[in-house]
């Protein structure tokens, strides 16, 4: 049997896995029967919990749990889980392993090659970290696809013969992307992509948490780390409720004291005004780069869970003067599209007439220096060679001269980014080129950069007078870590034992009771304690029918308590 074609949406808040079969993508459920697996990892002794159980443990075991680690991808930040210190890509690899296990159970086949979605505005370092995470989970990321492009593919597949110019507004848990596309004759052409890799739903929760702290009367900065964490979780709940209704009564427990706050949608919008401002910049960049006007758009598509917030939809409607669309669930679109991209890479016959062209979201160029009149040399300027939003694959060339007389070498420093100073951009690599001695400016080199859709960047410098060459290949899939290191880490990561799948429903259920116990007060606590003991007793009895009956009965009560404490 052929390898299944798999697409993965590795999100800041939730992750999904999707298979492409019989000409259409299909989302796969996890052990709990849900499509969304929260991207949260928790350590329980030597066992790893991923997903809903881990999310509930955020309240009860904050020190053993990590969430929103996608934001730290490509950095050296480490997360403390119990006694272990883990990097973002290691945590992500645990989430990927969970998705892999669930999908393998659902399909009855092993999975190896996958397409993983990343925010369009992820730079090379962040992309490399994502690929390393796949490798550590025993997966081979054959291609990374940009999230808004994936969403567009999902929408494009619904209407294959359509012809339209549209915009994808993708506000996820931690990242924001805007992409303008054109769809005609089966060609999905990305015209421009822009974004903010550090702006997402989590920032809105944080802004609301700060507003809540002000309402309580304790400034955010004065709260202890734990209290901040609890408040952030509460704000997240409040945020969800405020998307549905105009006000929300939050009952929260902070440092042992109970508070009741009334939050209105207006409060929330005020707290997020600065974030809304930041959303405008990428949109403007995109339109400037495509030379289009907002009127030229046929559709505006919303993707990402955070676009459920009414203030976002309002802002989009105002900016584009039209109602945005959400015909595919904004949480699912990216995963569906990732599977479509996987099918495109695998050249699935169902997609013979579909072609997708993407652009480079960043400019790629080299460092240059200038000499001032008084002889001072100022270096560190960024000279783009492939400008952002160039359709890929692309190959461009530029020429550069020597600065001093009898200079024998030229240093080529490759950077990715938009800032005029290289120090604010991402360094990709460096090499030296020998040039013959000569007068300043009389010798020089051509630098050619070739960038292909799989993320491979090839740089070649040629000396102008004697034709000597030097070059460098930067690929996505060789990260900062070498192959050996990845193999070593893979081994390390495999030492983490996943919680047994059969048990997962029960573990998640127990975690839920414990979380509610933490939140509740008075009689409810007694009730929950009783339930906890009863359920643990049933677990020891090992009668599956009895356990599942109990889960059903208690579930209703838990729902009721959940509703009371968060609404």
């Amino acid at each position: 049997m052929a390898q299944p074609i798999i697409g993965i949406d590795l999100g800041t808040t939730n992750s999904l896995i999707c298979v492409f079969e019989d000409g259409a993508p299909r989302l796969l459920t996890n052990a709990l029967g849900h499509l969304l697996t929260p991207s949260v990892v928790s350590l329980d002794g030597d066992k790893v919990l991923v997903g809903e159980a881990a999310r509930d443990r955020q309240t009860t075991h904050p020190k053993d749990t990590a969430a929103a680690f996608k934001r730290a991808m490509g950095t050296d930040t480490t997360f403390q889980l119990g006694r272990k210190k883990l990097r973002a890509e290691e945590l992500s690899s645990l989430v990927l392993r969970k998705l892999k296990d669930d999908a393998e159970a659902a399909l009855g086949q092993t999975i190896r090659d996958v397409v993983v979605s990343v925010p369009a505005y992820f730079n090379q370092g962040q992309r490399q970290a994502t690929i390393a995470a796949c490798a550590m989970a025993g997966l081979n990321a054959v291609r990374l696809v940009n999230e808004p492009t994936a969403a567009a593919l999902a929408y494009g597949l619904q209407d294959r013969d359509g012809e339209s110019q549209f915009l994808v507004f993708d506000l996820g848990g931690g990242t924001f992307d805007v992409t303008v596309l054109e769809h005609f004759d089966g060609v999905m052409e990305v015209k421009a992509s822009s974004g903010d890799a550090f702006l997402g739903g989590e920032d809105f929760s944080e802004a609301l948490a700060k507003a809540m702290a002000d309402k309580i009367g304790t400034p955010w900065a004065k709260l202890a780390k734990d209290a901040q964490h609890q408040l952030r979780l509460q704000a997240d709940v409040a945020k969800r409720h405020l998307s549905g209704k105009d006000d929300f009564e939050a009952r929260l427990k902070l440092d042992g004291a109970h508070h009741t706050l009334t939050l209105t949608r207006a409060d929330f919008e005020q707290a997020c005004a600065a974030l809304i401002k930041r959303l405008h910049r990428p949109i403007e960049r995109c339109f400037y780069d495509t030379g289009l006007d907002t009127d030229a758009l046929d559709r505006v598509i919303l993707v990402g869970g955070a676009t459920r917030m009414p203030m976002i939809r309002q802002m989009v409607a105002r900016q584009f003067k039209r109602l945005p669309e959400m015909t595919i669930d904004p949480d699912h679109a990216v995963a569906l599209g990732a599977a479509v991209q996987a099918a495109l890479v695998a050249e699935d016959r169902a997609l013979d007439d579909v072609v997708m062209t993407d652009v480079s979201p960043f400019s790629v160029g080299i460092e240059t220096a200038t000499k001032l009149k008084n002889g001072t040399v100022i270096g560190g300027f960024f000279q783009p060679i492939i400008e952002r939003n160039t359709p890929l694959p692309a190959s461009r060339q530029d020429s550069f001269g020597t600065m001093d007389d009898n200079q024998t070498q030229l240093r080529v420093d490759i950077y990715q980014g938009e800032a005029p100073k290289v120090s604010d951009n991402v360094h990709l690599g460096q090499f030296l080129l020998d040039v013959p001695k000569g007068k300043a400016g009389h010798e020089g080199m051509f630098v050619r950069i070739t960038y292909d859709p799989s993320g491979l960047i090839e740089v070649e410098a040629t000396s102008i007078t004697d034709g000597k060459k030097a070059g460098l290949v930067i690929r996505d899939n060789v990260s900062n870590l070498t192959e050996a290191e990845i193999a070593k880490r893979l081994k390390q990561m495999q030492a983490f034992k996943m919680h047994p799948r059969e048990d997962e429903e029960n573990t998640a259920f127990l975690a839920r009771i414990r979380r509610l116990y933490e939140m509740a007060s008075g009689d409810d606590r007694h009730l929950l304690q009783g339930m906890l003991m009863e359920f643990e007793g049933a677990l020891e009895g090992q009668d599956p029918a009895e356990i599942s009956r109990m889960r059903g009965d208690m579930g209703e009560t838990l729902d009721r308590i959940d509703d009371y404490y968060v609404s």
Binding site: Q314, A317, K321, E325
Partner: protein, 392 residues
């Protein structure tokens, strides 16, 4: 006649309409090796050229938009041009409080220079008094255009877009041209919904740039950090230099402008990536090396004279240099002064000038210059101690 480029590249027999060009491109794209940059690039170039030179299509009725079909609307609605007003704006829950400004209390503002002598506002008023469908709202409309607060402009734009726009422009000019850069008003204006119109925004950015350029050369005003922050929030000249340079064109002062406000970019908006750690490390080494130099210096002086005061002085200096970054700038300024006062020989003066170039901003932004400043300072400390030794 055989077809010419770009039509030949696309497999077209002759100049075609845009629709045909797109179809030909799509067909061609499916044939070529899309991973070959040369083939793809050639096709893209031809596609771009052909789209530019395509025959104008007849003014056929616009095809129904996908969005409309999805919502069950017919293509008919499309005949109506898209209005500038927003079709479905929810009523604002917040009472629109004027964000700031007390325009009514101000005397009539000097007219912005770019308007004609007749005066901007009355002219606009007149113009719209004559329009066929006067959109005069009955009750709460302020009598004078300058009686409208910034916060009310968005609401006004709903009723009377042109008037709102002219008021907006006046307020923008005032904020820009006021002696001490009214950055708060600028920020409030640029945050308005109406300021998010893309064409207007480009023009505002250009106006802002031109004003800055003339005022930067004026030593009296300089470059306020507040202003830099507003620019960064709204136009991102520092973080999106590539985009800004395309919008504004490569101008001579551009680099200077970048340096001037790079300081104001909040750390959090810079990409937080692993490569930055390297900088930090070298900075620590740099600190250590400065300490070492100063230490050696004090020891050597002690050998000469054996005065404990020098140690205290230089250690204190070292601590200051290390922890207060801007002091290096101040220090560099002192070198220049000292060098000229003491009439040191030419190399010393040159060194000092080197460390203190014309724009002080460069000193703080570039590590190279920071290093130079430190080295020059060390030299000055040495000279100063030597002089004290000699004359005291």
């Amino acid at each position: 006649m055989s077809p010419k480029w770009p039509w030949s590249e696309l497999g077209l027999a002759k100049r075609a309409t845009e629709r045909e060009v797109k179809r030909a491109y799509a067909a061609r794209l499916k044939q070529i090796d899309r991973n070959d940059p040369a083939a793809f690039g050639a096709l893209r170039d031809a596609f771009a050229a052909a789209k530019n030179g395509a025959l104008k299509e007849k003014a056929a009725p616009k095809r129904p938009r996908m969005a409309d079909i999805a919502e069950g609307r017919t293509g008919q609605d499309d005949a109506a041009p898209i209005t500038l007003r927003e079709p479905q704006r929810a009523p604002d829950p917040l009472p629109e409080a004027p964000i700031e400004h007390t325009p009514a209390a101000e005397p009539a503002q000097p007219q912005p220079p770019q308007t004609d002598d007749a005066g901007h506002q009355p002219f606009v008023e007149e113009l719209f008094a004559d329009t066929p469908e006067p959109p005069k709202a009955p009750a709460p409309k302020p009598a004078q255009p300058w009686g409208v607060g910034i916060g009310q402009l968005d609401a006004l734009a709903q009723e009377d877009p042109d008037r709102a726009q002219s008021i907006f422009q006046t307020k923008f000019n005032d904020a820009l041209r006021s002696m001490h850069w009214d950055t708060k008003a600028l920020d409030a204006l640029l945050s308005l919904d109406m300021a998010h119109d893309l064409t207007l925004r480009r023009s505002l950015e250009a106006q802002l740039y031109d004003t800055l350029q003339t005022r930067l050369n004026d030593p009296e005003t300089g470059y306020p950090v507040d202003m830099a922050r507003v620019i960064e929030t709204h136009f991102q000249w520092a973080t999106d230099g590539v985009g800004a340079s395309k919008r504004l064109g490569w101008r001579r002062d551009y680099q200077l402008l970048m340096y001037g406000h790079a300081r104001s970019v909040p750390q959090s908006s810079k990409p937080r990536i692993a490569t930055r750690a390297k900088d930090k490390q070298s900075y620590v080494w740099h600190k250590i090396s400065v300490f070492a130099v100063l230490f050696l210096l004090t020891i050597s002086i002690q050998e000469m004279k054996g005065a404990d005061d020098y140690i205290v002085v230089s250690v204190a200096l070292a601590v200051l240099f290390m922890f207060v970054r801007w002091l290096t700038m101040l220090g560099a300024a002192i070198i220049v002064k000292l060098a000229s006062l003491l009439r040191l020989n030419r190399p010393a003066i040159r060194l000092a000038h080197w460390a203190f170039p014309a724009t002080t901003a460069k000193l703080t932004t570039s590590l190279e210059f920071r290093k130079l400043g430190i080295f020059a300072l060390t030299a000055v400390v040495m000279v100063a101690l030597y002089l004290i030794d000699k004359y005291a």
